[in-house]
């Protein structure tokens, strides 16, 4: 059977029940991401109040890894300031690319994404939501 490292239960759970999926009509920041390798598409919607992200949603079509990662992202960045979100983004990117980073707690859903780094082709799937966030935050 397939390696459980990749399809952790928490990833499948986010995939089947994405947390904040669907457009956010009153978003003030949006960006579209695409993975040209596989055609996965993702739109990320943020609503900020001053420096703080008060709402985050995503929409799009993609594989379990890209959808679960987007779901985790929307959950994780709600309530963060832009700088905190940037720091989180760097931490997730470092985890997925195998660079030094402060590890996530085991009970943090994001830690489940670490298994993806063993599958080079899938790293881009996991990164899609985060690179889209990066595009928004650095605009």
């Amino acid at each position: 059977m397939v390696d459980d490292e990749l399809y952790r239960e928490i990833i499948l759970e986010h995939y089947h029940h994405p947390r904040y999926k669907g457009a956010l009509p009153d978003a003030n920041l949006t960006a579209e991401g695409m993975n040209p390798l596989c055609g996965d598409e993702l739109t990320l919607y943020l609503k900020t109040d001053g420096d703080r992200i008060v709402e985050a949603r995503f929409d799009g079509r993609g594989c379990s890894i890209s959808q679960a990662s987007a779901s985790m992202l929307t959950e994780a960045i709600r309530g963060l300031t832009v700088d905190e979100a940037k720091a989180l983004l760097e931490r997730v990117k470092a985890m997925l690319t195998g660079s030094p980073h402060e590890p996530f707690d085991e009970d943090d859903d994001l830690s489940a994404l670490e298994g993806v780094k063993k599958y080079p082709v899938r790293i881009k799937c996991a990164l899609l939501a985060w690179t889209t966030l990066e595009e928004i935050l650095h605009k």
Binding site: M1, V2, D3, L6, Y7, L12, Y15, H16, L37, C38, G39, D40, E41, R61, G62, C63, S64, I65, Q67, Y119, R122, C125
Partner: protein, 419 residues
């Protein structure tokens, strides 16, 4: 020609498999089941040996030296061209070696297209095309002001011939069409299309990358002006492909790239060109892989293209029968195996094809998942990607069964549809 029964009795798939060293491999603890042949085929020992023999025994540049090795290398290179030409019913002078089908199409786009297309001219493509037969024409359209017109396909995945007739009424200069779709598997009626296109004065280019490996192809009978294909999808090494073009077109066309080999006389100001096909082969060519291409064609001819076609149709019919019986799976393309080549694109209704391919890989089964360089088809099917199993002469009915049974693993990981 052999009857179907005789072919079936004679077809010894185990003997064929024994010629392909890679098929002995195990992947993730399971015997390799290679069903990604539309992406690239595996190589038989005979092709690998031809490469090794060339480098160990013959290696020299072609069309230059007067020494023994140079003569032998030239003879081997040109004899490979003759084999490839004969394989598709062409004269050797009409076959230009390229890197692949993509380069062959680009050659036509830049050499013929820039010289013959002007603002307002129409180029007819189809929505079934691979990016390799779309993007070069977009680039040429931008340079010349020519317009692109796309013929759609029907919901059954067949060419919309009525729409094609309408497009031809506008008297296009070129019709560029895929012979066999790498996503839908559809075999297009290229003879009929060529006849109709010629009747309105259009030139016809056919992308045969998925046809030449899998069925008998005779470019003279088709009557087309240009025909492009790749070696690596038909047992040859990567990096070698071919363009067939009608002799008078090759003679008229300006060169594609300039350099050594392709000239007759070079002065300070200008040069004159070598005879065809050398005029289109600037620089030292891919000699070893061309020789490997010749060995691949020998191998395919030894098995017989009609026998290969029938073997693949048995595999395709079985795969279609089993996949169509699954209520959580959608199959794309024509239902009738006679109307398609050896590949089946499909999707689970509730699982992304990347996840399907990943789960199958854990069982040693290689399929492709993605847009298959056909984003226009994906948009028409309203998906971002499909899974695709594609077959070749060495695949077995047992492998089709292993593949379909392994789809149960997908249901184990991702749950049942609607459940």
């Amino acid at each position: 020609m052999m009857t179907s029964l005789q072919t079936q009795l004679k077809y010894d798939v185990e003997a064929i498999r024994a010629d392909f060293p890679i098929l002995q491999r195990r992947v993730n603890g399971h015997p390799l089941v290679y069903l990604d042949n539309a992406a690239t085929s595996q190589k038989p020992r005979q092709v690998i040996d031809a490469l090794v023999h060339y480098y160990e025994f013959t290696n020299a540049n072609v069309h230059r030296g007067l020494h023994t090795l140079a003569e032998e290398a030239t003879e081997a290179y040109e004899s490979a061209r003759a084999k490839v030409a004969r394989f598709i019913g062409a004269e050797p002078e009409s076959v230009v070696f390229t890197r692949n089908a993509t380069e062959a199409i680009n050659l036509v786009a830049y050499a013929w297209g820039l010289a013959n297309l002007k603002s307002g001219d129409r180029i007819v493509l189809t929505e079934m095309e691979h990016h390799s037969n779309i993007v070069p024409w977009q680039l040429i359209a931008r340079l010349t002001g020519a317009q692109l017109h796309y013929v759609p396909f029907t919901p059954e995945g067949e060419m919309d011939m009525e729409a094609l007739d309408n497009a031809l009424r506008q008297e296009p200069k070129l019709v560029a069409i895929v012979h066999v779709s790498n996503v839908l598997g559809t075999v297009n009626p290229v003879e009929e299309i060529t006849r109709k296109a010629h009747a309105v004065g259009a030139k016809v280019l056919i992308d045969g990358a998925q046809a030449v490996p899998h069925k008998p192809v005779d470019v003279t009978r088709i009557g087309c002006d240009f025909y492009a294909f790749s070696g690596h999808k038909m047992l040859a090494p990567t990096g070698i492909g071919a363009l067939y073009a009608r002799r008078e077109l090759l003679e008229e066309m300006p060169p594609f790239m300039g350099g050594g080999s392709m000239i007759r006389r070079v002065t300070h100001e200008f040069s004159t060109w070598a005879d065809i096909p050398t005029k289109f082969e600037a620089g030292t060519p891919n000699i070893a892989d061309a020789i490997g291409f010749g060995a691949a064609v020998d191998y395919l001819q030894h098995v017989g293209m009609e026998a290969i076609r029938q073997h693949e149709q048995r595999l395709t019919a079985e795969a279609l029968r089993l996949l169509e019986a699954e209520e959580d799976i959608v199959v794309y393309g024509p239902r009738d195996p006679q109307r398609r080549c050896g590949l089946v694109s499909f999707n689970f209704k509730h699982v992304h094809p990347h996840d399907v391919a990943q789960v199958l890989d854990a069982r040693g089964i290689a399929i492709r998942a993605g847009h298959h360089c056909c984003q226009i088809i994906m948009r028409r099917l309203d998906v971002t990607a499909t899974a695709r199993a594609s077959f070749y002469l060495y695949n077995t009915i047992e492998e089709i069964h292993t593949f379909v049974e392994a789809l149960d693993d997908v249901r184990k990981v991702f749950g049942k549809y609607g459940g």
